[in-house]
Symmetry: C2
Subunit: 481 residues, 2 copies
């Protein structure tokens, strides 16, 4: 398909769709959720074949995808997300009268979305990026991930079925296949107004650079993953050694370690290191190797492991078994904090079920670690509450390094809700001021516009006197409904 | 001063200041407003000398600057701006329990602010960028504009006096002088987390590129100005020819045309062009030339005019009189819409009191113009309401091209309030999803962070059970206070 035709159609769809009410946008999204549900069997069986992920997991992922769509439908039907803000006119103000000024969010325009290999449904064709862009009012040009083309096509068909049934313009969603050059061409097109991506650092950064080099730079929301460190304190490990080892290994190895938030780095106090390491090793030995998403990912995993094996600072507790090329095998290496601090290569994500256990001597080292830590999607702290009483400085440092700070549990299992933040300081994402999961993801694809002295008849309903949509608005600085 | 020392001190100040309450941040800002007021005479006399702007204007600008500071003080004292969002735990949810997740905005860290030449107070040392960054919780490293060094130093002294009197860390604000290399070095420093700039397109774009080329890219909020077109409809001009000509010229020539939002481009229907042009020319002839901000700006103005004079598409109604090198003299040229559409150079801002009047033949041409128009801070429409009934498509196109759409009055005189949007699509700014004027400007300098299962004692007050700050929060998807 000719790219200009594709984008011109998307732009035309945009100028129609931006005026569609929140009720109608919500109905379209709900129809999409229904359509996916009624095609569950076929979608799941395709995704299982193409991703090597087990059926239970894919079924759950479809449930999550559908739930996410229904949540965004609810948000756009309710309508308050557009931040309607009204400063009424003050004709009698001195020395100068105040004009009537009304502000709201307006959608950016056509958005290019790149699918992720590790979530063939929830972060792919009808995943969070696509749905939050559609919810915001933006058409989506979707670049399918080559690892699951049939799943992607099937889901795209469901989107078009929902479009058809709710009388939306068909160019609201365009499914594009291809490799890197095709993806780059989409990002470069003048009518593209934003990019969303979930994947590797190299891929996300390349798109970010490309988008900034355009004649009109556009925002790139690239979620590039991270090592999601866990900071362990001694009393906590003393009290819950085996439970925490089990939880750690379960989170590390979930989906063969192919989660953006799986914890590839764990900081352990010297006093507890031996016992904890043994418990982890015991758990790891129970984990059978399993097929990764595709051979390229397995190859990259073993290449990273191979490089790390050449580093003498590491002591290997469990070595990955690379005999099956597609299979991911767990691995664990230990390193002293003083060595870890010397080389940032030890912070690099190894996508798969590998963890680095860093043994620290004292709290001064923890502070140094926190200062040197790269930006992360998540940081987890395992401590008894009393161990944190004097750690405000450390907590403050760690807050600077992540988008989500956990005090219990594990970082995998990203909840889709209102308060979720999935996105952290660079290099975990290219835009820490946004999230790719949860309701706030919609705001990535909108920008504010103010109308000054616009006649009531021409104002969008969201900004009209009398609040016909019944949404929350800020009027003269006060929230009201 | 050594840059590492400077930024290390700012970072240390940041880790203290981010934990300072909104009440205390507000008290600091209020003390700053008071301090500026009590130094009004000296500040105004310095700014008048250094900017060539009249005393009345500078006095007004100081009032606006102080009012802006008090507004941000109110916002941070009230506290709801941080978007506190709470999804309470659901321990009994099946199949999986939900963790307790709480989200809020957290400040980015040290911010580099560049002062503007055209607003020595309101967009400079204690101007909107500095104040919104400080309100958000970020220390500011301020690069003074070389056109008004003494004014800048004096205002910086006032900031330090307010810092001292409210026991804030002195590195909360650092005043830096220098030229382009010094400014670039600030943007490149690893501890800088954001940049704010008001000025030329070349300057803003260079900083944007520099910030994106860092090892850790950081956001650049560059407000680079625009030509702020006015679209005139025939009945409106018929009815108010002279009044509108007067309003147009007043806005065009305000401050010798040195406003980001002055209207340098006006689209006029052929039927009214002669009468309107004559009325404008009459008004322009009454405007005496006046000194511009500095000789460099005057030189750039006359160079632009000189280039345009070489273009045969333009017919000159009033030629600028360049005999006084520092003085800005008004100028007006007319061009056919069909010619204007052929070359984007006719969209380039000429910083000063020059306007291009574009004469259009029909509504099809208006649609073409709207499609070709570059991103603008503002677009103004002068039409009788009935003339817009069938213009929804045009209005939609124009919305895509601006941050503020006016239906009465003139684009200069940017109100500082809740609903103001000062920022539009590229090239008018580098980030159309933000504003540099008004309350929402604070959000540029913060990012979301989520706390998962954090003990009450360690949570920020904004997210504690019982809402001790009494702010608006979203709990389980519903706003409450």
């Amino acid at each position: 398909m000719n790219l200009d035709n594709l984008f011109n159609a998307a732009q035309e769809a945009f100028l129609f769709y931006k005026n569609v009410s929140g009720q109608e946008k919500g109905a379209f999204l709900e129809k999409l959720a229904d359509t996916l549900e009624s095609n569950r069997e076929e979608i799941v069986s395709l995704a299982v074949i193409e991703s090597n992920l087990p059926e239970g997991r894919i079924n759950g992922e479809l449930g999550r995808t559908v739930g996410q769509i229904r949540l965004f439908a609810k948000v756009v039907k309710e309508g308050s997300w557009i931040e309607a803000t009204i400063d009424p006119a003050m004709p009698d103000r001195t020395p100068l009268p105040r004009a009537d000024i009304r502000r709201m969010l307006t959608p950016l325009g056509p958005v290019v979305v790149f699918g992720a290999s590790n979530f063939p449904l929830a972060f792919s064709t009808a995943g969070g990026d696509t749905i939050s862009a559609l919810a915001a009012g933006c058409p989506v040009i979707y670049k399918a991930h080559p690892a699951h083309p049939k799943t992607s096509q099937k889901v795209a068909e469901c989107i078009h079925e929902a479009i058809l049934k709710t009388n939306m313009p068909s160019a609201l969603f365009t499914h594009v296949e291809g490799g890197i050059p095709e993806g780059q061409a989409l990002v470069k097109h003048p009518l593209a107004k934003a990019v969303a991506f979930t994947g590797s650092h190299a891929g996300g950064k390349a798109l970010f650079d490309l988008a900034n080099q355009r004649e009109e730079p556009i925002p790139v929301y690239a979620e590039m993953g991270s090592v999601n460190p866990i900071f362990c304190f001694s009393k906590k490990l003393q009290n819950e050694n085996d439970v925490l080892a089990k939880a750690f290994v379960a989170s590390l190895t979930l989906g063969v370690g192919q989660f953006c938030t799986n914890p590839g780095l764990i900081f352990v106090p010297k006093s507890q290191a031996k016992a904890f390491e043994k418990a982890i090793a015991d758990e790891l030995n129970d984990i059978a190797s399993a097929p990764m998403l595709h051979p390229g990912i397995a190859e990259a995993y073993y290449n990273s492991i191979q490089y790390l094996q050449s580093r003498e600072e590491l002591r290997w507790v469990k070595v990955a078994d690379a005999q099956h090329l597609i299979n991911g095998s767990t691995a664990l290496a230990e390193i002293k904090a003083s060595d870890w601090l010397q080389d940032t290569v030890f912070q690099k994500e190894v996508f798969g079920a590998f963890a680095m256990m860093v043994v620290y001597e004292n709290e001064d080292e923890l502070i140094e670690i926190a200062k040197h830590l790269h930006g992360q999607l998540t940081v987890t702290i395992w401590a008894e509450q009393e161990e944190l009483q004097d750690q405000l400085f450390l907590l403050n440092l760690l807050e600077e390094k992540c988008g989500r700070l956990l005090f219990k549990g594990v970082p995998t299992g990203v909840e889709v809700g209102y308060a979720m933040q999935h996105g952290g300081p660079y290099p975990s994402t290219t835009n820490a001021r946004s999230t790719s999961v949860g309701v706030y993801a919609i705001k990535r694809f909108a920008r504010p516009i103010a109308f000054q002295d616009m006649p009531q008849e021409l104002l969008p309903d969201a900004l009209k006197d009398g609040n016909p949509l019944g949404i929350w608005r800020m009027v003269d600085g006060e929230f009201e409904k």
